[in-house]
């Protein structure tokens, strides 16, 4: 009797299990690819960071030796400083310019698609090519920009050979390459704001600036948070265009952490362990910053 009574419950449980499993099955292909090509290499990278190897086949146990080596390396701290300066400037410029461009494009009655495309085009250019092209344009003697400046009697500017200017150039080119992407995210955020709130503000006599400060900016905050998180990740991962633009020079003034990892991993003498340890440290930094950004965002949303 008990067995007969349990049967519908069992069926119910089975059905419920199936229902719970279905979404995971839909996610499975994507998660399998993500696990195989992202999670597994990341775990393996952490593992390799505990060893030293120059060929990727034979390994010697180092424990925390690679981390100790990196953290006691004077050059590394210079690179960390460069990376922080670049990432911070990149995030601030990306958000400010992204918001400005999004608002300007949103206000266009005609040609909105055209302007959106114009600002987005640099995102589509290969970073390596972008670095090379800007390198040619910014060369001191024969570069396009200095040639143009010379025609107005302005002396040559050492764009790529002055430490501070080179960092300014790298930040500028990095922002130019990505700002179109962030503009699109912010533009989508702007377009999702209910127009009736602006109508109400107009009726109340709010100026355009007041509308921007009191309505647009607060309502755009979820999109801004996304941009801040993405720009932080992009900022800390910047490498390819810098390598072809300045090579990390002059005198290491634009060498960022990914170049440090690349040079340990792929330039003789190869040190896979040190490169992996650098990657783990970079992951920890980006992860921590993303969590902080996310928590700040949640607090604001709750408020």
């Amino acid at each position: 009797m008990a067995a007969i009574q349990a049967s519908p419950r069992l069926r119910q449980r089975k059905a419920s299990l199936k229902m719970r499993l279905v979404p995971y099955l839909f996610l499975l292909p994507n998660m399998a690819i993500f696990g195989l090509f992202t999670v597994w290499p990341a775990i393996n990278g952490f593992n390799i960071s505990m060893y030293s190897s120059s060929n990727g086949r034979t390994f010697r146990w180092e424990g925390a030796g690679n981390y100790q080596r990196i953290l006691t390396d004077e050059d590394f701290w210079g690179i960390v400083r460069n990376t922080v300066v670049y990432a911070l400037s990149f995030v601030v410029l990306s958000v400010v310019l992204g918001v400005m461009l999004a608002v300007l494009v949103d206000q266009q009655r005609r040609g909105r698609t055209f302007f959106r495309s114009v600002f987005f085009v640099p995102v589509l250019i290969s970073p390596v090519v972008a670095g090379l092209v800007w390198n040619w344009m910014l060369e001191r003697q024969n570069g396009l920009i200095n040639t143009f400046l010379r025609s107005f009697g302005i002396p040559e500017v050492p764009w790529l050979v002055d430490n501070n200017l080179a960092m300014v150039v790298v930040i500028g080119v990095g922002t130019w390459m990505q700002v179109g992407f962030y503009m699109l995210i912010l533009l989508a955020g702007l377009q999702s704001i209910d127009p009736s709130v602006y109508e109400a503000a107009k009726i109340d006599g709010a100026s355009r600036w007041r509308q921007f400060i009191s309505l647009t900016f607060p309502l755009l905050q979820p999109s801004i948070l996304v941009v801040v998180v993405l720009a932080t990740i992009h900022g800390f991962q910047a490498f390819d265009f810098i390598y072809t633009l300045t090579g990390g020079g002059p005198v290491g003034a634009t060498t960022l952490i990914v170049q440090y990892i690349y040079e340990n991993g792929f330039v003789s003498p190869i040190r896979y362990g040190v490169a992996s340890a650098g990657s783990v440290l970079l992951f920890c930094a980006i992860f921590a910053l993303t969590i902080v950004n996310w928590m700040i965002g949640r607090k604001r949303e709750a408020a």
């Binding site: 952490f46 593992n47 190897s53 086949r57 390994f59 050979v161 002059p250 005198v251 290491g252 330039v267």
Partner: protein, 439 residues
């Protein structure tokens, strides 16, 4: 509270899983499973290779590619085998061969510029080519192909030598006499001549050189020191300061292109375009430029002897042919290396590529190049003057890393980050640390 505990438990479980994974070595632990080569010399019968396939991973300097293809055809015909020639871009060579070794798909033979990255993977060729085979090669280049316990890990297949070129048209226009290859000029004479030509012709610079630690080592060698040699840091800081001072002075007053040096960061950069554009009358590079200049220079130029300081002569480089322990056909690989480096075949190869010989017989007999014989003779004469220290330095496992640090040291001084004494002293510490790490 329960939620928090669950999250903490999950986090700890995750960390434990990662920790357990970390406890497993990602590959073979050092000292385990080293492959042993055959102990006795094996006799070779060409018929034994018939029908086999050999994979040769190669990079080209340009003109040598055709000669290599011709020699491979001859080998295939003689031994009735198939050679797969895989030409890779030079910058991908090491990582690509490393990846193939990791993936169990090792090539049989590989052309290399140095053995550092593969020393533990290379076949000891003595077992196939005989104990005395190394004696067929010049002692300097042979040093670079020798491993621990006298193992012959490769065959030096061609030799290069760093050295300067002069723009003859500019020298003539300035009324400055050209250097005599028989009586090399000094560093001071070379810089004075270059500066005079610059002033007389209005060229942008007096002197240009590739941004390379290998090229900078030429100057160290001429001043009687080296970065590393024979497993030790060999840098004499006083001599290094003397050697680098003229270059730094020239970059400070822009007689040498400062922007060129600083603007490429940590990347290698060749100054050949500066010389070809006639922006500098003297250019320090090496004999591999002869073919390129013969083709592209729109002016009269010549190879000049290396300037002397304490010593004369240049700094050697070159390439090696090596077989891998994981080769499926080690005997065929060794035989292919022997074939490509017979007197006749090496002559064909170096004539086409504009290289210098590594074989003693070719070096003694001399090589008749198809063009620019006088320029190649300048390098051959300098080869005889080149100090042994250069070969010992270039073949040291710590050389490549130290050469990078040498470029960084010069950049630090030129960029105003350090004074020369501090930069050289730091360089010495870094070379010592590299020697410790790589030996």
């Amino acid at each position: 509270m329960v939620k928090k505990m669950r999250t903490t438990a999950r986090l700890l479980a995750g960390l434990a899983a990662v920790g357990m994974l970390a406890a497993c070595a990602p590959g073979q632990v050092e000292g385990q499973g080293a492959a042993a080569g055959p102990s006795a010399v094996q006799s070779v019968d060409p018929a034994q290779f018939a029908g086999k396939t050999l994979n040769y991973v190669y990079f080209t300097d340009g003109p040598d590619a055709e000669a290599t293809a011709q020699l491979i055809s001859k080998f295939e015909e003689k031994y009735k085998v198939k050679v797969n020639l895989e030409t890779l871009p030079y910058k991908d060579l090491v990582t690509s061969v490393q990846a193939r070794l990791s993936g169990g798909n090792a090539p049989d033979v590989v052309r290399l510029t140095g053995l550092t990255d593969f020393r533990d993977d290379l076949l000891d060729l003595r077992s196939y080519l005989g104990q005395d085979y190394a004696k067929e090669f010049l002692p300097g280049p042979a040093v670079g192909a020798t491993g621990q316990d006298g193992k012959m890990l490769a065959v030096p297949s061609d030799l290069t030598l760093n050295g300067p070129f002069v723009n003859v048209d500019m020298f003539k226009k300035a009324g400055v006499s050209l250097p005599d290859p028989e009586k090399p000029w000094t560093w001071k004479e070379m810089i004075d001549a270059a500066t005079k030509v610059q002033k007389a012709t209005g060229s942008q610079y007096a002197f240009a050189m590739d941004k390379s630690g290998h090229r900078l080592s030429t100057i160290l060698n001429e001043y009687g020191t080296a970065l590393v040699a024979n497993g030790k840091s060999a840098l004499d800081t006083e001599k290094a300061k003397q050697a680098l001072t003229p270059l730094i002075d020239m970059m400070r007053d822009n007689r040498m292109p400062r922007d060129f040096w600083l603007g490429s960061g940590s990347r290698y950069s060749g100054a050949n375009e500066i010389f070809l554009a006639q922006d500098a009358p003297v250019y320090l590079s090496g004999n591999w430029q002869v073919g390129q200049f013969a083709k592209n220079a729109k002016f009269e130029w010549a190879a000049a002897p290396n300037p002397c300081a304490d010593k004369c002569g240049g700094f050697p480089g070159g390439k090696y042919m090596a077989a891998l322990q994981k080769s499926k056909n080690p005997a065929l690989a060794a035989e292919f290396i022997r074939f490509m480096n017979t007197t006749e075949n090496q002559a064909t190869f170096i004539k086409a590529g504009g290289f210098l010989p590594t074989r003693k017989d070719l070096s003694e007999k001399g090589v008749a190049y198809p063009a620019r014989q006088a320029d190649m003779d300048v390098f051959l004469k300098d080869l005889a003057r080149t100090p042994e220290l250069g070969y010992a330095a270039n073949s040291d496992p710590a050389f490549t890393g130290s050469a990078t640090e040498l470029v960084n040291a010069v950049s630090d001084v030129v960029g105003g980050k350090k004074d020369l004494s501090t930069a050289v002293s730091d360089l010495q510490k870094k070379t010592q640390s590299l020697v410790q790490e790589l030996h």
